[in-house]
């Protein structure tokens, strides 16, 4: 499991580290909201969610650019398969950002449900 995770990170490249860091921050904000629902945390969550997704897409794009630049120097018969392999590895960035986003949003939804069912909730 540990080596699979390490391979997953290594294949994704440099973009995986900021994506993971912002993902942890996003999960922390979601846990804070689930613990004590406050509207100001929702705004922070939205901004961090966009940053997390943008980090994943940025890592993916950089990976695809690097792959295509490398593939252009290869013989034509291997260009297609090497390009696909590079794109597959670059997609790890998007997988990580989406996994963190889904996980954090599930935690956040728990907090939202708690806030909605609270006796003093806005029933308008």
């Amino acid at each position: 499991m540990g080596s699979t995770m390490r391979t997953f990170f290594a294949e994704g490249g440099l973009g995986m580290y900021p994506t993971f860091a912002f993902g942890l921050l996003l999960v922390a904000v979601a846990i804070a909201y689930a613990w004590r629902p406050a509207r100001r945390l929702l705004a922070l969550y939205s901004v961090l969610g966009v940053v997390e997704l943008a980090c994943g897409v940025l890592g993916l794009t950089l990976g695809i650019v690097t792959t295509f630049l490398y593939a252009a120097k290869l013989p034509p018969e291997s260009q297609y398969s090497v390009s696909l392999l590079g794109v597959a590895e670059s997609l790890h960035n998007l997988v990580l950002s989406l996994a963190m986003l889904v996980l954090a949003t599930i935690v956040l939804a728990g907090g939202i449900l708690r806030a909605a069912l609270r006796p003093g909730a806005d029933r308008s």
Binding site: E77, S81, L91, V102, I106, L108, I112, A116, R123
Partner: protein
């Protein structure tokens, strides 16, 4: 239907689970149209969409890796087939999102019809709406 699930891969199962929760939230909003349920609907919609895209992307990764082991003549056809099968995850996510939004729109309509008389009552007092 079972082919649709099998072709989509494991990502179809969490998408179905979160999609069912989204539809349940939509039904809850249709029955009890209150503003406090809207963030729940939005957040569950994000979860379903994220889950669908995640399943699609992992399907792409598996396809692109598998293609490496095939003869060159088959590579393009298998890539297209794998991409189309992976997209079943996104199709399922959108089915749930559209269904839940349609159900929730009944609640929005009920809320709109309910608040209409109140809105006209305040027409002469703009400060009450601010």
């Amino acid at each position: 239907m079972s082919d649709f699930y099998l072709m989509g891969g494991w990502g179809m199962y969490p998408t179905t689970l979160f999609g069912a929760l989204l539809v349940a939230a939509g039904i809850a909003y249709a029955l009890l149209p209150e503003r406090r349920f809207v963030p729940l609907l939005v957040s569950m919609g994000v979860v379903v969409f994220g889950s669908g895209v995640l399943g699609t992307v992992t399907g792409f990764i598996n396809t692109f890796r598998h293609v490496q082991q095939l003869p060159e003549a088959q590579q393009r056809a298998i890539t297209l087939l794998g991409v189309s099968e992976s997209l079943n995850n996104l199709v399922l996510a959108f089915i749930f999102i559209v269904l839940a939004t349609l159900i929730a729109s009944v609640g929005a309509l009920r809320l709109g019809l309910r608040s209409k008389p109140g809105h006209s009552e305040h027409r002469g007092e703009p400060s009450a709406l601010v």
